[in-house]
């Protein structure tokens, strides 16, 4: 902890279950937040304000106007500049608490980088918006013995559970090994902001208990909430399933899965294509400008195609094709403008 910590964290340290010793533990902890959308912004904000030593934030997307209703760290300037969420969050949070080491990673989470993202991490907080990425994180966490705090919110309902290797079952035990496309999404049935804050705050509470080592205080269980008509249940979270490919047989199938070239984002009328090579945005601006309207910031390039769709290029080689949910159509446009 640095000079001024006593003042900054005084109210948190007055809370007896944390105290000065708990604060020291929090300050020496390292946390990964995956997905910097509605859940992730609340999670990262809580971790940074609580004084977690290092917070790594990963997100593949950029800020848009439709995010501002519930993604608490972003504003209209971020949307106008189309800043990547991880970068925009880092800028905001650096002004909130300069004691905290922040790492912003603008990337997809894949079988190739999931374990690397967990390097040096004590706890993983789930801010993702799809089960495919959650199962990947679940497998990486259980392989490494790192707790994974699942959270999800849609409509006015939410769910959260702290999944601890060797102690509880894993996410795969609960939801199976499907392609991750199941479940309603915020883009199909909507979402109200308070449920996301509530779920993320429950996740943050369990994270703090874990970081200070207060095992007795853990809520345990699978919390299911509905906040419009109001119903809440904390259901039993069973132990590991013997035949589970992750926590039973320890095969971690998501880590072995081959990468798909294209994947549909959270019902957002967007298909992502992962190209095999980095993209030089300046060069691509010159190349695409004669055929379509192009705008660029240091993190991404947007090209409004004459066909009606939009391409968003990232330096790591990813391309979002916005305006379609069809992989074949996205592939066609990708091949037409970017080339295989």
């Amino acid at each position: 902890m640095t000079t001024g910590s006593n003042a900054r964290y005084s109210r948190q340290m007055l809370f007896k279950p944390i105290g000065p010793e708990g604060q020291r533990k929090i300050s020496s902890s390292r946390v990964l937040v995956v997905g910097m959308g509605a859940l992730g912004t609340v999670l990262a904000s809580h971790m940074v304000r609580a004084g977690v030593g290092m917070v790594r934030m990963v997100d593949r997307d950029y800020v848009e106007l439709s995010n501002l209703q519930r993604q608490m760290l972003y504003d209209e300037d971020d949307a106008a500049a189309a800043l990547p969420k991880a970068m925009a969050a880092e800028r905001k949070l650096a002004r909130v608490n300069s004691d905290v080491k922040l790492e912003a990673v603008v990337s997809d989470v894949t079988a190739l980088n999931a374990e690397q993202l967990l390097d040096g991490i004590d706890l993983v907080l789930d801010g993702t918006d799809n089960f495919r990425t959650r199962l990947l994180l679940n497998d990486a966490c259980f392989k490494r013995g790192i707790p994974f705090v699942y959270g999800g919110a849609v409509s006015a309902q939410g769910m959260t559970a702290m999944l601890i290797p060797g102690e509880t079952c894993c996410l795969r035990c609960l939801i199976g090994s499907g392609d991750g496309s199941g479940g309603q999404t915020c883009d199909t049935v909507g979402v109200i902001a308070p449920i996301v804050d509530i779920v993320a705050s429950y996740q943050a509470v369990e994270a703090l208990k874990y970081l200070v080592g207060d095992a007795e205080a853990r809520r345990g269980g699978l919390l299911s909430l509905e906040v419009w008509f109001y119903q809440s249940m904390n259901l039993k979270l069973p132990g590991p399933k013997k035949d589970c490919p992750t926590c039973g047989r320890r095969e971690y199938p998501s880590l072995a899965a081959s990468e798909d070239e294209a994947s549909t984002l959270c019902g957002r009328d967007t298909v992502q294509i992962r190209g095999g090579r980095p993209l030089d945005l300046e060069a691509w601006e010159r190349r695409l400008a004669p055929v379509c309207a192009v705008s660029r910031n240091p993190f991404l390039l947007r090209a409004e195609l004459p066909e009606g769709e939009r391409l968003v290029l990232f330096p790591d080689g990813r391309v979002l094709v916005q305006g379609t949910e069809e992989s074949a159509r996205a592939r066609t446009l990708y091949d037409r403008y970017i080339g295989s």
Binding site: G40, G152, M159, L174, V191, Q231, P238, C266
Partner: protein, 91 residues
């Protein structure tokens, strides 16, 4: 025996607009069967074409996940609850 059942808000179109209601059954197995007989629209959301509980659907008998139970022939007792939940993916 009367059993209290709850389903997610998003599925109440399948259960006459109610997210909480009661069912009469003697065992958990019978309750699960009655649930689908009474509300057939629910079937496609809870079970797949092989009759297995769909992935992302969680059935809880009181506080216990039904997938972990060895025997569904459990006799029901007063105050028992059956909860149909969908794992939530948004974020």
């Amino acid at each position: 025996m009367r059993l209290e059942v709850s389903v997610p808000l998003l599925l109440r179109d399948c259960t006459g607009g109610r997210s909480r209601f009661s069912l009469e059954a003697d065992t958990l197995e019978e309750a699960l069967r009655r649930l689908i007989e009474t509300y057939p629209l629910l079937k496609v959301h809870v079970y797949d074409e092989r009759g297995q509980v769909r992935e992302h659907v969680l059935l809880y008998y009181n506080d216990d996940n039904v997938a972990w139970l060895d025997d569904l022939g459990i006799p029901l007792r007063p105050g028992d609850k059956l909860r149909v939940l969908q794992a939530v993916s948004g974020g």
